[in-house]
Symmetry: none
Subunit: 184 residues, 4 copies
């Protein structure tokens, strides 16, 4: 605890530990004492930085998930490729651990749920936008476009979680191709 480098980052180390533990066993199942232990700080210090346990989760979500807003460059005439590209640059800047936390705790914690909602809306928006650009002449069905965007967003968002929970892997590129074909 004397190393200034170590000392300086107690708060960071607490968040690191929490991220790992929340992702592993879930928020409820993680005692603050174990966070402190893994972070290598005394128990009291956790409450110094985060007066209530829930604040650790909130801070984690606030500081470690970022819903970016840069749009993908659409390739006109190639909706499948455009969606695939979007899939590869998901507007969620977050570690895999943070992603698990986001999905897992959304059910029970409003602030997490809000963040997930915003993320979903953003993916839908960008999918729709990308598809519009990629399909220039698409005077086509707006409702179908909407369904396509929502479906793609759902697949992107839940892909990992789905695989984890059901054991079935789903390939975003194949879905991109499917959707492109539907709108083509």
């Amino acid at each position: 605890m004397d190393d200034p480098l170590e000392t300086a980052k107690a708060r960071t180390r607490i968040l690191d530990a929490a991220e790992e533990l929340f992702a592993g066993g879930g928020y409820d199942a993680t005692p603050t004492a174990r966070i402190a232990e893994l972070a290598g700080v005394p128990k009291g210090l956790v409450f110094h930085y985060f007066p209530r346990k829930i604040d650790v989760l909130v801070s984690l979500v606030d500081e470690r998930t970022l819903v970016t807003e840069e749009d993908v460059e659409a390739v006109p005439g190639d909706p499948a490729g455009t969606l695939s590209k979007l899939a590869r640059m998901l507007p969620l800047r977050a570690s895999p651990d943070m992603r698990r936390i986001l999905f897992r705790e959304a059910d029970t914690h409003r602030s997490v749920r809000d963040r997930l909602g915003r993320l979903n809306a953003e993916i839908i928006r960008r999918s729709r936008f990308a598809l519009e650009l990629a399909l220039p002449g698409s005077r086509g069905d707006a409702a179908r476009l909407e369904a396509a965007a929502a479906t793609f967003a759902a697949v992107l968002l839940y892909q990992e979680s789905l695989c984890l929970l059901t054991g079935h892997h789903i390939d975003p590129d194949a879905v991109a191709e499917l959707i492109a074909h539907a709108l083509g």
Copy 2:
């Protein structure tokens, strides 16, 4: 305890109460004492029937979700309608509460996860089968069919959960139509 209706099935009332409470606040957040209270039985009786708390959850999943296996009747030439019909008779005989429980607890409880995995596999299988029947001449792309089935299953399964978590409603019929168009 004299009311015959009450007396009939303490065990059933315990499961009823648990179903409601687990769906509401989650498994972890539900003390067995509250299950007993809502069921109108003494605390000890819960443990008489379910030696560990987790057994309540396991029994619930075992006894109250049924993955049926009757296939949907496909309408040749109408894949969209066929999928819509399938959506309406989900091979999951379970209350909305049980469905929430299934998704929420799958993350942490293997037996629940297993059941969810089986359910997902069954929906995929049936979607694929329905599409094959509905598209007689589909010498078409097997991979695309697969992607379609998996996508439709994901949407069906996560529909409710997605809406709850992200606030965004997704219409299975629109997705059915989308997929039909992609394969048509």
Copy 3:
């Protein structure tokens, strides 16, 4: 439970089960439910025969340990042989399990302790008597004879227990020889 042979002996089977379990894990650590289970009888029946749990232990001690009172035949001039013979026909008619129970529960249950006390007194009495007969001319030290009898009784009684607890085996014959030499 239909076999008359089985039915007839429910009480006996309960005691059998209790004997085994009490010896194994101790009285306190043995739930009545497990006694019933091992005995193959419903839980309620245990309380039919033994209104309180302690009654099982008391009955066991009452019915399954017998402090016999037949004296050993002393061999004049051979105190060591006489004691050895006495060791081999301990005035305790009891299974090894019952013996463990006797020693283990004496500490906490008066009725068991009483039985153990009586047993000890009887062994001392018989040892003294045997030694007197075997050492005809022993107008010797009465106090030393008393110490010898008490020592031999202690060794006999605690032999097994001592071995179990300390891992050190003590040979009654060697002690008999030792004592004979001391008095000879």
Copy 4:
């Protein structure tokens, strides 16, 4: 909690209380709540220091029984006196309470049993050594010496317990004299 005497050592007070209660009613029969109560600390603090109840017992045995290893000074030519002296400085630094705990719980708790085994071995070793020194010319029977040492150790160790359980007091000095005579 302001009294400095009280404040000094909550942990110590917990062990004090446990020592008293375990000796009195036994480990199983002593709820942690009563330990806390007697120690004058909140229940939770017991578990702060001793995560599981058994840790209280283990700590007690670890910290409050000491098997010393200083040998007794033998008096050549006076084996009885030497043994008596040994009896008076038992190689067990422990309160009477701790001694009761040691015997009572050895049956069910390995760590306690181990300590008792070591203690017994040490007493035998010392008795043998003392006798060898006290009987210089004893080229005598090694087996008899062994039996003597084991017997004396058994008597020393079980003396109290024996008296408590059987109501019969046994005098170590008389046994010492007896043994001396046997080897003399």
